[in-house]
């Protein structure tokens, strides 16, 4: 089991990472809690804001980079992951975080999730899962349950929801966790662990929509339902058990680290660095690049 590097005297306070922009979120939105937990986690990790690139898609939750002091990029709908990967590959020294909602990550951008996992690019992906499209005022989302009535499912949804936990585990993600703003300490801890994990880390956050969300997704209901994986004695290195627990998404609410690969595979960045080292001596000076086109028989 990987242990966290203890941070004896944090260089930064959570406030260091909060910008002056006032969030557009509705009062009581779960995303406020996510922002607080994230800034606390970043303070604990101890990297300065200018070394952090924080990338999001489109949606209420995707506004979050602007509320931090990191380099932020509020991109287009569903594409936070490809852009975040380009950033990390281009400059592996950066701490890269991607964020978005369940629609961003599992509907319009769902195709990208499998690929960031198989590339194992070292970034942390926070999904603020509220089971609804909030920014566009209450339509069905990919994690809305069957039967859910919304303005685009007036007679109840005929579709089963995506299971984000099982989805990423199915593609072999090495770090999978879930959190809720109900448990700020726990949420802060899993975000910190995800950031420190060497490789792609996925954190699903049950962040309720106070305006369009259902009663059972609100903080009060979550509090009653929430089960801490740590308290349950779950061993995060147990893939079979983690997969079994992941199946309960939608009926139960587990928080904490569901799965952490005890032998994490090499990251894309590590392998790229090795390749760069092996090949650098073969580079011809850039101004001689055309010489290869002179024919030799």
């Amino acid at each position: 089991m990987t242990t966290l590097t203890p941070v004896s005297s944090p260089k930064f306070q959570a406030g260091t990472f909060k910008s002056d922009l006032k969030p557009i979120w509705c009062p009581g939105c779960g995303d406020f809690g996510v922002l607080t937990a994230l800034t606390r986690a970043l303070a604990a990790v101890g990297r300065p804001p200018h070394e952090i690139a924080f990338i999001s898609g489109i949606g209420c939750s995707s506004r979050i980079p602007g509320y931090t002091t990191a380099y932020g990029f509020n991109t287009v709908h569903g594409r936070a992951l490809p852009i975040a990967q380009g950033i990390k590959v281009a400059n592996p020294a950066l701490l890269v975080i991607a964020a978005g909602g369940d629609g961003d990550g599992f509907s319009i951008g769902g195709g990208h999730v499998a690929h960031v996992i198989r590339r194992n690019i070292d970034l942390t992906y926070l999904v603020m899962d509220n089971h609804i499209y909030g920014l566009t005022k209450g339509q069905l989302s990919p994690t809305s349950h069957r039967g859910r009535k919304t303005v685009t499912s007036n007679f109840g949804s005929l579709e089963d929801p995506v299971n984000p936990l099982l989805y990423v585990m199915g593609y072999g993600a090495s770090f999978v966790a879930q959190g809720s703003p109900v448990d700020m300490a726990g949420l802060t801890k899993v975000i910190e662990e995800g950031i420190r994990f060497p490789g792609f880390a996925f954190i699903n956050i049950q962040s309720p929509c106070v305006t369009y969300g259902e009663e059972e997704q609100q903080l009060k209901a979550q509090k009653a339902k929430m089960q801490s994986l740590g308290a349950m004695g779950h061993d995060p290195s147990d893939l079979a058990k983690a997969t079994e627990l992941a199946r309960d998404y939608g009926t139960k609410l587990y928080t904490g680290v569901l799965y952490r690969n005890p032998n994490p595979p090499p990251t894309y960045g590590e392998m790229a660095a090795e390749r760069h080292h092996a090949l650098e001596s073969q580079a011809v000076p850039r101004h001689d690049i055309l010489k290869r086109f002179l024919p030799t028989h």
Partner: protein
Amino acid sequence: MIQDVIIGIAGAGGDGVISAGESLITAAALEGYHGMMTKSFGSQIRGGEASCRVRLSTHPVLNPNGPLDVAVALNWEDFRRFGAELPVESSTMVVYESRTGVAADQLPLEGVRPGVVFSVPIAEMAQQNAGTEKAKNIVIIGLLAGWFGIGRESMLAGIRKKFARKGAEVVEGNARAFQAGLDFAEAHPLKEDRKLGAPHNRSAKMLTDGNDICAAAAIFAGCTFFGGYPITPSTEIMQFLDREIWKYGGAVLQAEDEIAGVGAVVGASFAGKKAMTATSGPGMSLKTEMLGLASIAELPLVCINVQRGGPSTGIPTKAEQSDLFQAAFSAHGDCLRPVLAPVSVGDTFGITVEAFNLAEQYQTPVIVLSDQEIAQRKETVEPIDTSRFGLVERRRPTDAELVNYTRFKVTESGISPISQPGVPGGNYLASGIEHNEAGGPTANGETHARMNEKRFRKFNSLKNRRDLFAVEGEPDAPIGLVSWGSVSGVAKEALRLAQAEGLHVKLLVPKLLYPVVETVYQDFFASVRRGLFIEQSFQGQLYRLVRMYADVPARVRPLAKSGSNPIQPTEVLERLREMVASLQATHQHAEAIEG
């Protein structure tokens, strides 16, 4: 002696037709000839028919098209499948495999009876000398080397090198097959008027294609990130970069789709790196949203579109110039991004470097419209002195500017200092959402108008780039041609033919297609009495694009044709003759009235 020869070879897949063409043009490049080679295949993934056209000349070759001077058919079914791609005329010298059993005076060519025909036992010569019919293509290059006096030594050296690891017996067998070709040619010499003259200078030329040289230009320009998705006919750019870019500390990311490919490029650019993607029509359609993001976030990137026939899947393996509207306009919202087009394989180097420079200077996506023909034809290129090309870096903030850093500061030029993650004090929010100077999201109409104005104003100086327009021919010629991309080679050849006939013509070739530099076109049209746009698209997209911005008089018309059916220089020449005749008629009419 002739100055120019076009050779077409066709056979079944596996006959080594392409490799024969490559040996020939490589030998020619080594000896200082100019040349172009195009390939064509049946639609099968493997096998099926294959053909190549090799045009060799003592002068620079402007386009690969035209009727064949020499046709080589390994079998007639495959040869005939290429139809108009291998046009045989009565003046064409025809060489064909004896085993086809066709009589020399009964060639299966409709309506044509070539005067010079050789039935050659190619397979038999291969079998006898090399012990295998696989050496048919070696016999063919022997024949061509013998007849045109090109590459006797270099091709033999090439054969020795190519077969070295197969052992001495194979090497000697193939060398004998080559010699058998030479001997046949010697025993059946060409008339003087079919022999090719000596090259103007004997210094070796580079030999490459548009995709490879584009990728090499990216390396030269300092590109260290490529994200993309395989798509015909652009994939060789990614393949070349994957072989090279890692050596420079860079990376090629073969993305899960076209969107992710350009998305990663947007990310790499945000991280401060020079980054590029390459695609073709369908991929461009998918990348559109990301290009809009790069425009509003003011991030430099280069997007190569190797045009093919469209819409939709269209004709993936043939060139067309029908993506100009898409390059200029496929974005929602008001946005402007430069569009460049190279005219040849060699020109692709400078245009690609220019694309990186413009992207960095103006903090914008830049689209390069190559096309299948430039991208995939092999062409000899005079060695390029890379020291002639300066490189531009994005305007990064000074230390003073990093105090209360304002990413999208409205400056006089419209260009704002751009920071990147890792730089202390340069932290900012980039976004696709409209933003104020500091990067904060806004829905304010006045701010939107001001930022739009800034994002357009920064391109004002681009309109002074007259060096991105080439004019050839007599300055006071009454007839003006306008052409772009690979088709400008056809126009240029037509110009030469017209001049040889004593016609007074000039040619404008824009390499910066968008923004439309109105004055360049208006000055050009004002100086001529008739004008003609020559374009490989059904609509004549440049003609129509220019009409949106500049006053185009009615005496300027388009000659526009769908792709996969190349415009021939002779066709342009015919139009020029008509234009001259119409001008003379108008002139006489005017004189009669005045008289």
